[in-house]
């Protein structure tokens, strides 16, 4: 126990879990109904509400939620309760476009997010720009998951298993079950992973601060020793809160992997039921994460920057020493955390693979190739993507939350073509293209130039507002042109 904080029991439990993942991969392979893209990437559009809610949960709540967010709570204090509202904003964001998208996608057999862009706007350059931004954003997200894997393994093993070994082994497990069974394997492993995450969080709550008397004691300690952590957030933090709700609400709801789950639902009813459950998940997840961060702050005062990402591993290692029950809970939590990270990584990887294979290669060098060929190429691309990202993950330079924010600033620029595109039939493809291009250039420029924000609002959100203004304004201008103009939306309408 001295060299491996959670002992060999944890190693064995994690090994059984990883073998179960590979076993599910083989089971999913045996259930495949062909080599079509929709069978591999959308599980044959067969997901019911139970699998949908757990796959959405496991995908949305990631390594960042379990590792990065407690660290953020230790920095911001109770103000990080804002995470409940911004995670809910994602589900509310779906209501802006999912009803329409689900209906149209089913009718026309969409597989990737780009299929909606092609159908709605008929513009190759808009489709290309959308896919480039999606790939950049979610590759960044996948990188964050790989780094989180390494942190967890290094923390729990007392660095006996180095960061890079943890990253490498888990990458291999993910890629094996994913290439075996596609979304079927990913969604079924998500059921187990989402369930483990949920039970693990209940365990965390039990060990960290199980009831009002413990919460009161924690609040009293914070009030006495770090009063800024219990104070009503400043106007600046409140503005950041509002900005984060908008940024995450509009960007989180258009994750490619979330859009593909809308496509994969077996019916509108299944999707509705799953979202009715998903809306409660922030309430049962984020307060626990905030409490863990604050308990960690009380226990290890003075953690900042990258070290704060080690709060959860350090707490787990300490709890494991206290009793058999807390040891078992710590083992469950650490495996649940690994499950959360892997379930997000596998979904993002699958989306990346589908976009690269179908939307990039399928429209260029593999134009006209069979769906079986594109599926095979997609699997090989998964290996290449993981190898490239692993090489970056071996040299981490930013905290996990920093990685996530950068991704959201770019991803949010894509949201108008889904949300406005579904709500407003006058949105013109050319206006959407220029809006997205300007928004993405501005967001990237602000990030590279080190601009922190405008009056407390995220720079990406300001760029998004300009993006939306261009979409709307230019659509009105172009609508004034002569009939028979170049508008793809009109042309295909």
């Amino acid at each position: 126990m001295s060299s491996i904080p959670l002992g060999y029991g944890a190693v064995a439990f994690t090994g059984v879990y990883l073998l179960a993942m590979v076993g599910i991969g083989f089971l999913a392979k045996s259930k495949r109904e062909g080599d079509s893209l929709s069978d591999f990437y959308l599980a044959g559009r067969s997901l019911g509400p139970f699998v949908l809610v757990l796959t959405l949960y496991a995908t949305q709540y990631s390594g960042n939620t379990v590792v990065g967010y407690p660290a953020e709570a230790s920095r911001l204090g109770y103000a990080w309760i804002m995470s409940v509202s911004f995670m809910m904003a994602i589900v509310v964001g779906y209501l802006l476009y999912a009803p329409k998208l689900q209906r149209v996608a089913r009718r026309h057999g969409f597989v990737t997010p780009g299929d909606w862009v092609d159908y709605r706007f008929g513009s190759n350059r808009l489709s290309l720009l959308t896919n480039v931004l999606l790939v950049v954003s979610i590759a960044n997200y996948l990188l964050a998951q790989l780094m989180a894997m390494g942190h967890i393994v290094a923390g729990i093993s007392g660095n006996l298993v180095p960061y890079w070994v943890g990253v490498t082994v888990l990458i291999f497990v993910i890629i094996i079950y994913e290439t075996l069974g596609g979304l079927r394997a990913v969604a079924w492993t998500d059921v187990l992973q989402g369930g483990m995450l949920f039970v693990g969080l209940l365990g965390l709550l039990y060990v960290a601060a199980p009831g009002p008397s413990h919460w009161q004691a924690l609040t009293d300690w914070l009030s006495a020793n770090a009063p800024e952590k219990t104070a009503i957030p400043s106007r600046e933090v409140q503005t950041r809160w509002l900005s984060t709700v908008l940024l995450i609400g509009f960007s989180g709801s258009v994750y490619p992997q979330a859009i593909q789950r809308i496509y994969a639902a077996k019916s509108a009813r299944a999707l509705k039921r799953s979202l009715q459950c998903m809306i409660f998940m922030p309430l049962v997840t984020m307060p626990v994460v905030v409490l863990v961060g604050l308990v960690g702050l009380r226990r290890f005062t003075g953690l900042t920057g990258i070290a704060a990402d080690q709060i959860l591993p350090m707490l787990l290692a300490e709890w494991a020493q206290q009793s058999v029950w807390t040891y078992l809970l710590a083992v469950l939590v650490v495996t649940g955390t690994l499950a959360a990270i892997m379930s997000t990584a596998d979904s993002v990887l699958l989306s990346l693979s589908s976009i690269l294979s179908k939307d990039f290669l399928g429209k260029s060098v593999l134009a006209g190739a069979s769906e079986k060929r594109l599926t095979t190429v997609g699997k090989r691309l998964s290996w290449l993507v993981m190898a490239a990202l692993a090489s970056i993950a071996f040299v981490p330079r930013m905290t996990l939350w920093g990685l996530l924010e950068l991704k959201m600033e770019i991803l949010v620029q894509v949201s108008p073509i889904f949300i406005l595109g579904a709500m407003w039939d006058r949105l013109d493809g050319r206006a959407a293209f220029y809006g997205m291009l300007v928004g993405a250039v501005l967001a990237s420029g602000f990030a590279l130039g080190g601009v922190g924000g405008f009056g407390g609002f995220h720079t990406g959100l300001v760029a998004w507002a300009i993006n939306v203004a261009i979409c709307v304004g230019l659509s009105f201008v172009l609508a004034g042109e002569q009939p028979g103009d170049h508008s793809p939306a009109r042309k295909n309408g």
Partner: protein, 78 residues
């Protein structure tokens, strides 16, 4: 605003009802403690600072409202 590509008059969805979005704006605004004076931080409720509990109550209301909106204003016509 009914487009041949995007929907039909029979299909209902939340974006066809503007009042729903005004309610969401009010509920999300209630979740941010801009309306409380700084001295309210010293009051606790259920072990949390009062403003934290109020924020959680507002988000619970968002969840209940969303269940209602999805059930009532999202038709299942395929």
């Amino acid at each position: 605003m009914v487009d041949a590509k995007l929907g039909s008059p029979r299909t209902d969805e939340p974006t066809r009802h503007p009042w729903i979005w005004f309610v969401y704006v009010a509920l999300f605004a209630a979740a941010i403690p801009w309306y409380l004076p700084p001295e309210a931080a010293s009051t606790t409720w259920l072990g949390f600072p009062l403003w934290v509990t109020l924020s959680l109550v507002a988000t619970f209301a968002i969840a209940l409202f969303t269940v209602y909106v999805i059930g009532r204003f999202w038709s299942e016509d395929e």
